[in-house]
């Protein structure tokens, strides 16, 4: 039994990270119907920027103060938000009225550019986060181990997701975001500045992604330039499982995917874990293409 609970704790931690990243995919998709393939790499860029702040301010050996970690988050968030906005402006906005797949290819190019850019700046080596950045505390509850880092990730992710949910559903600007997602033209007619909404989505998504990326770095204590694809793909799947374009769906999808991966790897087969995940994805698509929380909407062609 403790094994099961342990798998749940592990799954929930990763799930929280997936959910944070998935939100970036889903918000962009919701409004632009664009799969932003560069989003995973943006998150990884966040991890690298955070790492640079931590190692340069924290000293090579000593354990950095907690304010350094805070600063790392702030720096990563600001940098990635800027990168997100630049990306939208340079690579996606000019293609707003083109064939949908043109923007997808542009996103693939952006992904390649960011990934290789990270490699050029930070070297292709696996970079290691110093130990002791976060308190090394862990609790043992009936055979289940939970560390401070895990708890922090789970709690902060949940808080962020709840805030985003409230923001989108209970503020004027949140309403504008939802309206633009449903029908851009109608939203425009209602006096909503859709361009501003889109820019805001390219700020919110990358901000959450940067936090997710830095969580990855702090949890696993390493960052490597090409990990964007893995996390990007998983987060993207999470967004689909929950119903792409649907914000609570991305949260639910992330948590479910984390749990599912943990259980599939732990109980069914670690050899085929990935295949099982993708099998589930295809099954969900066939049975309920719009995901768990997605509504049935008219096809945009």
């Amino acid at each position: 039994m403790s094994t099961l609970f342990q798998q749940l704790v592990n799954g929930l931690t990763v799930g929280g990270i997936y959910a944070l990243i998935a939100l970036g995919y889903t918000m962009v998709y919701g409004i632009l119907k664009l799969i932003n393939f560069a989003h995973g790499d943006l998150c990884v860029l966040g991890a690298f920027i955070g790492l640079t702040v931590i190692t340069s301010l924290g000293g090579a050996s000593g354990s950095p103060e907690i304010w350094v970690v805070g600063l790392a988050f702030v720096a990563a968030i600001i940098a990635i938000c800027c990168a997100g906005v630049v990306l939208e402006f340079a690579a996606y906005r000019p293609l707003r009225n083109a064939h949908r797949l043109s923007a997808v290819v542009s996103a693939l190019g952006a992904s390649m550019m960011i990934e290789n850019g990270i490699m050029l700046i930070w070297s292709p080596q696996t970079l290691v986060f110093p130990q002791g950045v976060l308190p090394q505390i862990s609790w043992h509850v009936g055979g289940v181990v939970i560390t401070f880092t895990q708890l922090m990730i789970i709690v902060i992710s949940l808080i962020l997701m709840a805030s985003l949910y409230l923001y989108v559903n209970h503020t004027r600007f949140g309403t504008a975001i939802r309206a633009s997602a449903i029908d851009q033209d109608a939203a425009r007619l209602m006096g909503i500045n859709v361009n501003r909404v889109i820019v805001s989505v390219f700020i919110l998504g990358p901000a959450l992604g940067a936090i997710g990326g830095l969580f990855i770095g702090l949890y696993y204590r390493q960052a490597v330039f090409d990990m964007g694809w893995t996390y990007g793909l998983n987060a993207f799947i999470a967004a689909i499982i929950g119903g792409i374009g649907n914000i609570p769906g991305a949260m639910l999808g992330g948590l479910l995917l984390g749990l599912f991966n943990a259980l599939a790897g732990g109980y069914i087969s670690s050899t085929w874990q990935q295949a099982i995940t993708f099998g589930l994805l295809i099954a969900i698509l066939l049975v309920r293409p719009t995901g768990i929380l997605g509504e049935r909407v008219a096809e945009k062609v």
């Binding site: 592990n10 181990v145 204590r221 670690s270 050899t271």
Partner: protein, 377 residues
């Protein structure tokens, strides 16, 4: 039709025939390595090592009086690109090629080099590489089977483990080594409790570890790479498992201890001695020169085995005073005996296998250094 084919054949063989660079007073060494992509770290290490050796040799009057030039081709660790690289390098008239890092890419290039009679030395550990009858191929790292033999004996007969869990990732190298170790454990009468897989780079191994924990192994053997191994060890400790961790050769990288942090202590790694622990004079010299030139230590032992591959080829050229591939190949196969390499004495078997590598089991200490624990010294 036949005539045309014959003409094509002739045209092509002319094109392939090595454009001998001897008259110009230079000799070209090729580097075929993954400069971009997943293995960029290792590939760039190989490139740096070869360039360093060439520079040293040139400062020393060159190779039998000729200046060494280096040509690099990025194979991205992919078979397709490797085949293209092989053609590109052979067309550039290289005398020998160092690389590639991955077995898959090395094997795709093999036939091309063999056809053009270009000497190739690679660290690719897949056993098949030396079983294809190419006389141009020399493996500079010990193959999986040799390491597995040592590991099987160590786990079963030396440490008397009874419930061994073997963990691998899906890479050619790690799966091959894991399979070979599993076989060796059984050959020694040992018991493989379970075989588990992780996805390299996925960073979250807690689900695999948690299910391992419930099976109560008395040792975890991991055949994959250090970046995953360090995390695996850290997460093992984090989950409160207190089971010895034995890692295969690719775990031997300074980053392992950094990633695993406090959990690194007590980890056992099986490999030829670590770069900094290599007792050989050549090793100390080369590593300090490398650090001086590039400001960081070589990324892994494979940087050094590939450097050894180049060094032994240069040695054979000097001894035979010849740049004729057949002469040099013959010398490498038959005459090189215990050449003092960076990674230990080097000799080659008839099929280009590196023989007589000294494996050791060493334990990571609290300060991250290695201490050899078997064989007793």
């Amino acid at each position: 039709m036949h005539k045309k084919l014959a003409a094509t054949l002739a045209a092509c063989s002319l094109a392939i025939a090595p454009v001998t660079a001897m008259a110009s007073g230079t000799v070209t060494f090729g580097v075929q390595a993954p400069i971009t992509g997943k293995y960029a770290n290792e590939g760039q290490g190989i490139e740096k090592a070869v360039k360093l050796l060439a520079k040293q040799q040139n400062a020393d009057g060159g190779l039998i009086g000729k200046t060494i030039k280096v040509r690099v081709c990025d194979d991205e660790g992919k078979a397709t690109q490797a085949a293209l690289c092989a053609r590109r390098l052979s067309n550039a008239g290289v005398f020998a090629v160092i690389g590639s890092y991955t077995s898959g890419a090395a094997s795709a290039a093999q036939p091309v080099y063999a056809r053009a009679n270009i000497i190739q030395t690679s660290d690719g550990t897949a056993d098949k590489l030396t079983q294809r009858g190419f006389k141009t191929f020399f493996r500079n790292a010990p193959p999986n089977s040799a390491e597995a033999k040592f590991t099987g004996n160590y786990l079963v007969n030396v440490r008397h483990f009874k419930r061994i869990a073997v963990v691998s990732d899906h890479s050619s190298f790690a799966k091959g080594l894991g399979d070979a170790v599993e076989k060796a454990i059984k050959a020694n009468g040992g018991n493989v409790l379970t075989r588990a897989y992780i996805k390299s780079g996925s960073q979250d191994f807690t689900s695999v570890l948690t299910s391992l924990k419930s099976k109560h192994p008395d040792v975890i053997y991991f055949s994959g790479y250090y970046s995953d191994g360090g995390l695996l060890r850290a997460q093992e400790k984090q989950l409160g498992m207190d089971v010895p961790f034995v890692g295969g050769d690719a775990n031997q990288n300074v980053a392992f201890a950094k990633i695993a942090g406090k959990a690194a202590k007590g980890t056992i790694i099986i490999n030829v001695p670590a770069p900094e622990n290599l007792p050989y004079k050549a090793a100390k010299q080369f590593i300090s020169a490398y650090k001086k030139a590039y400001g960081s230590a070589p990324p892994s032992i494979y940087t050094l085995t590939n450097a050894d591959g180049m060094r032994v080829i240069m040695k054979a050229v000097q001894e035979t005073n010849s740049l004729d591939p057949n002469t040099v190949e013959n010398y490498l196969h038959n005459k090189i005996q215990k050449f003092p390499g960076i990674t230990g004495p080097i000799s080659f078997s008839k099929n280009g296998e590196r023989i007589g590598s000294a494996f050791q089991a060493f334990e990571i200490q609290a300060d991250g250094s290695y201490k050899t624990i078997y064989p007793k010294q």
